[in-house]
């Protein structure tokens, strides 16, 4: 059996190949493959990694920590390069998303750094005055009326006329009897939609009703009405500046995107056809 194997032509072929190969490697004096890639983590790179660490931890890493960080960086670098070789970045939604997000941030970068003067901000403030108007606020007192409303309302009104303490009248409720000045959103948040609008219109200082809330019918006395005001520019300069900057960033982004887009010829499909197929 063994001998017959030795007589196989294929076996001879392998033996001859092996011999040739070992001969060749003995005489071959060409240097090892020149394209063996290297990863050099320079002092600068390590400094940069250390500064990244510092940004998170507010201190420099220890030697041991930096060692681990550099090792981990190398590991990441190797995987990234191998992944790029394999084209794993191609058609990857995460990579694409990330890249386009980075470009987007770059295109607005200037606005964050750009300085502006008060004249510009003031005119922005004037143009957008509505956004800076404070909300109107009301303070009021309320009595929740027991069912049936008609009867209890006249009883409560009679008690009020007799000088009774209003906080003790009507149906007992966990709703506040006295409401300090709060804006529409807070009034409606506590009593239900539309409560602010009904009360705001009442004659101040007089018990009126019935007023409808999410809990039932109330007698309400409007105690105070503070209209919304436009604060002076100086008071909210910081806020105006933030808004202006944000606005500017958006402008820059679309402006610069258009510039980039203009460098391309873009061919679009007929969308309606795509969907009808």
């Amino acid at each position: 059996m063994f001998l017959s194997f030795l007589r196989q032509p294929l076996f001879h072929f392998f033996v001859i190949g092996a011999v040739l190969f070992s001969l060749y490697s003995l005489v071959d004096d060409t240097p090892p493959k020149p394209d063996r890639p290297s990863i050099v983590v320079s002092t600068q790179d390590a400094q940069w990694l250390a500064s990244q660490f510092k940004a998170t931890w507010k201190r420099l890493p220890s030697e041991k920590e930096l060692d681990a960080i550099v090792a981990s960086f190398v590991r990441e670098e190797i995987y990234v390069r191998e992944a790029l070789k394999l084209g794993l970045d191609q058609g990857d939604t995460i990579v694409r998303k990330r890249l386009s997000q980075k470009m987007e941030f770059l295109t607005e970068a200037g606005a964050e750094a750009s300085l502006t003067d008060d004249a510009v901000l003031k005119s922005y403030f004037t143009q957008n005055a509505e956004a800076y108007h404070s909300a109107a606020r009301i303070a009021f007192s309320q009595i929740l009326l027991a069912e049936p409303v008609e009867a209890s309302m006249s009883a409560v009104l009679a008690d009020l006329a007799a000088g009774e303490d209003f906080t003790q009248l009507g149906a007992r409720s966990l709703l506040p009897a006295l409401v300090s000045p709060i804006p529409a959103a807070a009034v409606d948040g506590a009593f239900g939609q539309g409560m602010f609008e009904q009360i705001e219109k009442l004659e101040p200082g007089v018990w009126s009703g019935p007023i409808t809330s999410g809990y039932g019918q109330h007698l309400v006395r409007l105690d105070q009405r503070e209209p919304g005001v436009l604060p002076p520019f100086e008071q909210i300069r910081a806020r105006v500046e933030l808004d202006w900057r944000h606005n500017k960033a958006e402008e820059l982004r679309s402006e610069r995107f258009e510039l980039l887009r203009d460098q391309y010829d873009i061919v679009m499909p007929d969308v309606s056809q795509v969907l009808s197929q």
Binding site: L49, F105, T167, R172
Partner: protein, 616 residues
């Protein structure tokens, strides 16, 4: 008003009921866990909106969602934390900071200097940089640094800070600066949201902690160190809030070893207690109060239960994992650990949040925009699995339209709300905005219920939710004053319960749910079980009526089996009458076909922060 009447409002104080009143009298609504398109996973799911959309919607404006649908909240929120994932978020542009690798390149140096000068120079530098990018003439080493996989991040953190600064309007709307530290080793959810009390100047001094090597870490102890450093270096304040223990496969509330390989020792319990005053007990990915296996005697325990597996369904759930996943059991284990190690690591208050990845903090059934952009309202969202692997699936219909956080505070500012969170004067709801007060003391009695200003009595005679009772006076048992007022546009209330947990003399952990006040004239049966409140839900019309239940419920309750030598906690659970789940609104408005056997109605609820009793 005559002076003799004042006694009923506020005995012994000023004429004006508002003077001398420093206690937190206002209720604010919001949430601390919202993702925008800046979170990479949110972006991948198609979220094209950022923090602006989130804030505008939260403060009451109508916006357009990523899927092009108009959306407005039923009522504005008072506060919001945009908590985007810190991983793959990043650093203010290295160019602006003049990072070494940028400065090493002549062109990079030119740009960095331009940015440093600011103004037009900065704009020019940015433009030149973009020009070079688009022409492919950026120096090669820089291109490499900005290629995929590079550790150079971009200005996301800056963006988040800027947006919060822009929308934070003291006394009107609070925009907190925060982020999510998304630790998820092997798919075990150990996530924490970090909330800063401070504004931009302090936030800009730090970079969020990440979880990916080389700079990140998945060990919560490292997060505590980051928080410690933040406070020490900036003079600011921060806290962390964990969530979704139900997807941690037993690692959220460890009692012996931690997943990171540590042990639950004195160091661990002290740090956890210090940095995690709150727990996010309910959100879209399930409710985390308790589990029917852990609380078999609690007939309402099986609400929003997600117990299939870990976060990515790579390891199925087993029953022995459950006790270390749920809030109630953790509160109990906390008593045991306090006895053993001197500190209770799980002395947390309760909050709800959405964890929505749509930039849309929607937690109301009739206005629910889902967990991610892929499940914004559509005819089919209810019947598609939300997560699926070879091992199992989490079905689309089980997404919970939950939750929000109520905060009792003095005013709507970052400082006041944050401080209220620190002292745990907060509670969770599954989305409706019921007002709930909870006070504990030794002297509350039925007479207090006649007061028309219960909060005055509550603060005078006791401590609010999140507070502590110690050293019971001789022969006294703790008394609890509770009140609940339904959401002004929501459903009536079924009942108010006090959930009690304690460690008995033998060191065994016990729990009991007490019905303390309920609507109507129902009587408990021989076993003490209260009959159900009934059901008015019209399935076809996705509607209900407030003809059952009560608008408000108040009670004073005394612990009947109190033992002054045993440590205990008490928290309130409020149940609404049955109402339609979001799936019925999908059926009504979109004609969605609902799979067989799914939950159509539910009882929304609130969980308050506990009040703890300790013997010494």
């Amino acid at each position: 008003m005559s002076l003799q009447h004042l006694g009923s409002i506020y005995p012994g104080k000023a004429y004006s009921p508002y003077a001398k009143r420093s206690f937190p009298s206002n209720l604010y609504w919001g949430e601390t866990h919202l993702h925008t398109g800046l979170s990479l996973d949110a972006g991948l799911f198609g979220n094209t909106t950022g923090p602006d959309t989130a804030y505008r919607l939260a403060r009451g404006e109508e916006i357009t969602t990523s899927t092009g649908q108009p959306l407005k909240l039923s009522r504005p929120l008072d506060f919001l934390v945009v908590a985007d994932h810190s991983d793959l978020m990043g650093i203010a542009t290295d160019i602006q900071n003049g990072a070494p690798n940028i400065l090493a390149d002549p062109k990079g140096k030119e740009w960095a200097e331009g940015f440093a000068k600011g103004g037009e120079d900065a704009a020019k530098a940015a433009f030149d940089l973009i020009g070079n990018f688009s022409q492919g003439t950026v120096p090669e080493d820089l291109v490499e640094a900005y290629s995929p996989g590079s550790p150079i991040y971009d200005g996301v953190w800056e963006k988040i800070i800027d947006a919060a600064e822009r929308f934070n309007e003291p006394h009107r709307f609070t925009a907190f600066i925060g982020y999510e530290w998304t630790s998820v080793p092997k798919g075990f959810n150990l996530h924490r949201n970090v909330v800063l009390r401070d504004g931009g100047p302090r936030a800009r001094q730090v970079i969020p902690l990440t979880t990916q090597a080389p700079l990140g870490t998945t060990d919560p102890l490292d997060l505590y160190q980051w928080l410690e450093d933040y406070e020490a270096n900036t003079g600011g304040q921060a806290l962390a809030i964990a969530h979704n223990g139900n997807l941690s496969n037993g690692w959220m509330f460890p009692v012996e070893g931690t997943y990171a390989g540590g042990v639950v020792d004195e160091n661990y319990v002290e740090l956890r207690a210090k940095w995690e005053p709150l727990y996010e007990v309910t959100q879209i990915k399930g409710d985390g109060e308790t589990h029917p296996t852990v609380s078999p005697d609690d007939e309402f325990a099986d609400y929003g239960t997600w117990d299939v597996a870990n976060l990515d369904i790579t390891e199925l759930k087993t029953p022995e994992m459950l006790p270390r996943e749920y809030a109630r059991e953790a509160l109990k284990n906390g008593l045991m650990l306090e006895k053993k190690l001197g500190t209770n690591p799980y002395k947390f208050g309760m909050i709800g949040a959405t964890d929505s990845h749509t930039s849309l903090p929607t937690a109301e059934e009739e206005n629910f925009f889902g967990k991610s952009t892929s499940v914004e309202p559509s005819k089919s969202r209810v019947s598609h699995p939300f997560v699926k692997s070879a091992l199992g699936a989490i079905e689309g219909d089980t997404l919970l339209a939950s939750g929000y956080q109520g905060i009792w505070a003095t005013e709507n500012t970052r400082a006041a709300l944050f401080d209220a969170m620190e002292r745990k004067e907060t509670y969770a709801t599954t989305g409706s905005r019921m007002a709930v007060r909870f006070f504990g003391g030794w002297e509350f009695d039925e007479v207090d219920l006649r007061s028309r200003q219960l909060a005055f009595v509550g603060y005078e005679k006791g401590v609010p939710m999140g507070g502590d009772l110690t050293k019971a006076p001789d022969g006294k048992a703790p008394t609890f004053l509770t009140y609940a007022l339904r959401d002004p546009i929501g459903a009536n209330l079924d009942r108010v319960q006090i959930v009690e947990g304690w460690m008995d003399a033998d060191g065994n952990l016990q729990e009991k749910v007490h019905d303390v006040v309920w609507s109507g004239d129902r009587e408990p049966d021989a076993d003490g079980k209260l009959p159900p409140v009934g059901n008015t839900v019209d399935i076809e019309a996705a509607n209900w009526t407030n003809t059952i239940g009560a608008s408000e419920l108040i009670s004073v309750w005394t612990d009947p089996d109190f033992d002054a030598a045993e440590s205990a906690f008490y928290y309130v659970r409020v149940l609404e009458i049955p109402t339609p789940r979001w799936v019925l609104y999908d059926q009504l408005r979109l004609g969605a076909e609902l799979p067989e056997g799914i939950e159509l109605i539910h009882q929304e609820r609130a969980y308050t922060s506990p009040i703890w009793y300790s013997p010494s």
